[in-house]
C-alpha cells in the first residue's frame, strides 16, 4: 500500500505543472492585459515596459511559464501583482478559514443527507421518500446566496444568535457552513438513496435477518457499509470542490476564503495569485482524492485486493 501512496504523490508533480500551464495559457488568451490593472491611467510606454519587466510579463508564453516553474520548484509562489504580498502568505492567511468552512459544511451535508437518503431508500415510494427527495432538491435548486441571506435575516438580525459576517470565532462559521452544506446535500442524499436501494435488495441482508440481527443493525451496519463506496466518491468530489472555496457563500457572509481570493485575482488578472492559489488547492484536492481511494480499500476489501494484486 505504501508504494501505491508514494506513486500517487509522485503523480502530483505532473498535475501541478499541468495546472500551472493551463492557467498561464488561459490568462495569456484572456482579454485585459495585467499590466493595465497595476499601472495608472497616465502611464507612459516606458513605464509600462518597465512594469512588464518587473512583473515578468515579457517574453513568450513558454518563457514565462518556465520562469514560473523554475521558481515553483524552489517553493516560491511569487508575489501578487496587486498587493505586492507573497502569494504563499496570502493563501495561508485564507486557508484556515476555507478549511473550517469546508469541513463544517461537509459535516452539515452528511448529517442532512445520509439519514435522509436512508429513510428515502428504506421507505421507497412512500410519502417519506417523496418528502426527503423534495427537501434534498430544495438545497440544490435554491440559489445559495438566497438561502444565505434568508438565514442571516433570521438568525443574526432577528434572533441575534450568530454574527452576520466575518470569520472570528466558531459561531461565525455556522451560517455559511449551513448555506454551503445544504447546497451539497441534494447530490449526497440522492446518491445515498440510490446506492442504498441497490444494496437493500442483496441476499446477504436476508442472511443477516435470518441470524436474528435487528432491522436497525441490518440497515445501518450491514447495508450502509456496502453502500458507502458511491457515497464516499461523491463526498470526495464535493469536498475537493468546497476546498476550492465557495465564492457565493464567502461573498454573502464576508468570509475571507480561498474561493474569493481566486475570483478577485482573476478579476484583477493577478496571475501569480491565481496560479499559486489553484496549485495549492490542487495539492489539497489530490491529497483528498488519495485519501478517498485509500478509504475505498478499507471500506471494500475487493478493491483492496485489486490494488495489492
Amino acid at each position: 500500500m505504501h508504494r501505491y501512496i508514494i506513486k500517487r504523490l509522485l503523480m502530483l508533480i505532473p498535475v501541478l505543472l499541468g495546472v500551472a500551464f493551463i492557467i498561464y495559457a488561459i490568462m495569456n488568451v484572456a482579454e485585459g492585459d495585467p499590466v493595465y490593472q497595476v499601472a495608472g491611467p497616465d502611464a507612459t510606454e516606458e513605464q509600462l515596459d518597465a512594469l512588464r519587466e518587473e512583473m515578468g510579463l515579457n517574453g513568450s508564453l513558454l518563457e514565462r511559464y518556465f520562469r514560473y516553474i523554475f521558481k515553483l520548484l524552489r517553493g516560491d509562489l511569487g508575489t501578487s501583482y496587486v498587493s505586492k504580498m507573497d502569494v504563499m502568505q496570502l493563501y495561508l492567511q485564507r486557508l484556515p478559514n476555507t478549511l473550517k468552512l469546508a469541513s463544517v459544511a461537509m459535516i452539515v451535508a452528511v448529517v442532512i443527507s445520509v439519514p435522509l437518503g436512508i429513510v428515502a431508500a428504506v421507505n421507497q415510494n412512500s410519502i417519506k421518500d417523496t418528502v426527503s427527495m423534495i427537501l434534498a432538491l430544495l438545497g440544490l435548486s435554491m440559489p445559495n446566496f438566497w438561502l444565505g441571506l434568508l438565514l442571516m435575516l433570521l438568525f443574526s438580525l432577528k434572533l441575534g444568535w450568530f454574527p452576520s459576517g466575518g470569520a472570528e470565532g466558531l459561531r461565525s462559521v455556522v451560517l455559511p457552513a449551513v448555506t454551503v452544506g445544504v447546497g451539497l446535500a441534494a447530490l449526497l442524499t440522492r446518491t445515498t438513496r440510490s446506492s442504498m436501494l441497490d444494496v437493500l435488495r442483496q441476499d446477504y441482508l436476508r442472511t443477516a435477518r435470518a441470524k436474528g440481527v435487528s432491522e436497525k443493525r441490518v440497515v445501518f451496519h450491514h447495508a450502509l457499509r456496502n453502500a458507502l463506496i458511491p457515497i464516499i466518491t461523491i463526498f470526495g468530489v464535493q469536498f475537493s470542490n468546497v476546498l476550492g472555496g465557495s465564492v457565493l457563500a464567502e461573498t454573502v457572509f464576508a468570509w475571507p476564503g480561498v474561493g474569493r481570493l481566486v475570483v478577485d485575482a482573476i478579476d484583477q488578472r493577478d496571475i501569480p495569485t491565481v496560479t499559486g492559489a489553484l496549485i495549492m488547492t490542487t495539492m489539497l484536492v489530490t491529497i483528498v482524492n488519495l485519501i478517498v481511494d485509500i478509504v475505498y480499500a478499507y471500506v471494500d476489501p475487493r478493491i483492496k485486493a485489486q490494488y495489492t494484486k
Binding site: V213, E215, P301, A305
Partner: protein
Amino acid sequence: MDKNEERDILRIENLNVRFETEDGVVHAVNGIDMKLGYRKTLGLVGETGAGKTTTALAMLRLVPNPPGVVECDRLEIDGQDVRGMSASKLEQVRGKEISMIFQDPMTALNPVFTVGEQIAESIEIHEHLSKEKALEKAGDMLELVGIPRQRANEYPHQFSGGMKQRVVIAIALACNPKLLIADEPTTALDVTIQAQVLELMNELKEKYDTSMIMITHDLGIVAEVCDDVAVMYAGRIVEQGSLEEVYGKTMHPYTEGLFNSLPNIKNRQAMLKPIHGLMPDPTNLPEGCAFAPRCNYATEECKKACPALRNVGGTHMVACVRYEKDPNFMIDRRKQNG
C-alpha cells in the same frame, strides 16, 4: 427426551402467502398445514415456483411486506407462537431456535465483513459473549465445517462456492438451533462438493439433535437425508407421508410424474415420461385441482372441486379427487410395484 417426542418442533396450520403487485396478486402459498417432530427431517419437494422457499421464509417471518401478505391460523416453533411475536422477541428466535441456509452461496455472505465476523455475530447476539470469545467460537465452527481456523479473517471473495456454503452452514448452526431450514443448499454446487456438504449436514444434525426441513427438487437427496416427505404443487401440499409411504406407495399423479422424470439406472432403454405443460400462472390459478390441466387421470370432477388432504393409511396423506370418488382407483406406478 420422551416429553419432547409428542410436542412438535414446528406446527403450521392453513398458511397462506400472496404478493400484491401492480401486475396482479400472486398466490404463492395456498393453505399449507405442516407438523415436524423433534430430531426429524422433512423433505419439501416440488418444481421451482411451487412456493417452497416462500413457505420457508414465512416460517421465519422474512417475507418482505409490501408486497408480501402472510396469513395463517397457527405458526408455532418449539411451542412458541411466532405470528404475534414482537420484533425484538422474533430476533431472539431467529438464529437461536430456527435458522436457515440459503440457496446461492455466492450472494449469501456480506462481501465487506470477514467470514469470522459474520459467524461471530450471531453467537454474540444469542449467547451474549464478548467479541473475542465469539470469534474464538467462530473459529471452532469453521473447523467443524472443515475450514482451517486461520481463514477466519479472510473475506468471502477469497472462498470458492463450496467453501462459502460451508461458511453459511457454520453461521446457521453457530448457536445450534433446534430447527434448521435448508433451502436447496447444494443446488449451486457440483456433485462431489454436494455429497460432502450433505454428509456434513447429516453429521451435525445427529451431533446436535437438530430437526431439519430440506427444500429441494432432487428426489435423490430426499431419499438420502429425510425421514418424511411433502410434495408441493402450486402452493399446496398434494401428497405427504413417510419416505416408504410416498416412495413405495405413491398415490398422487404429480408425484408419479416426478418419479417418471428420473432416468432409471437399471432400465437404460426406458423412455423418460416428463410431465407435459407448464406450472400454472400464480396470478390466476385454475379452479379445482391445480394439477388437473397436466394430469393424465383428470376428469371433469377434478376441474370443479379443490381436493383436501385426506389420510390414506398410516401417516400417508394425499389430495386427489379420484380417490375420494373411487376408493380403489390406482395410478400406474402403484400397479407396477403393487
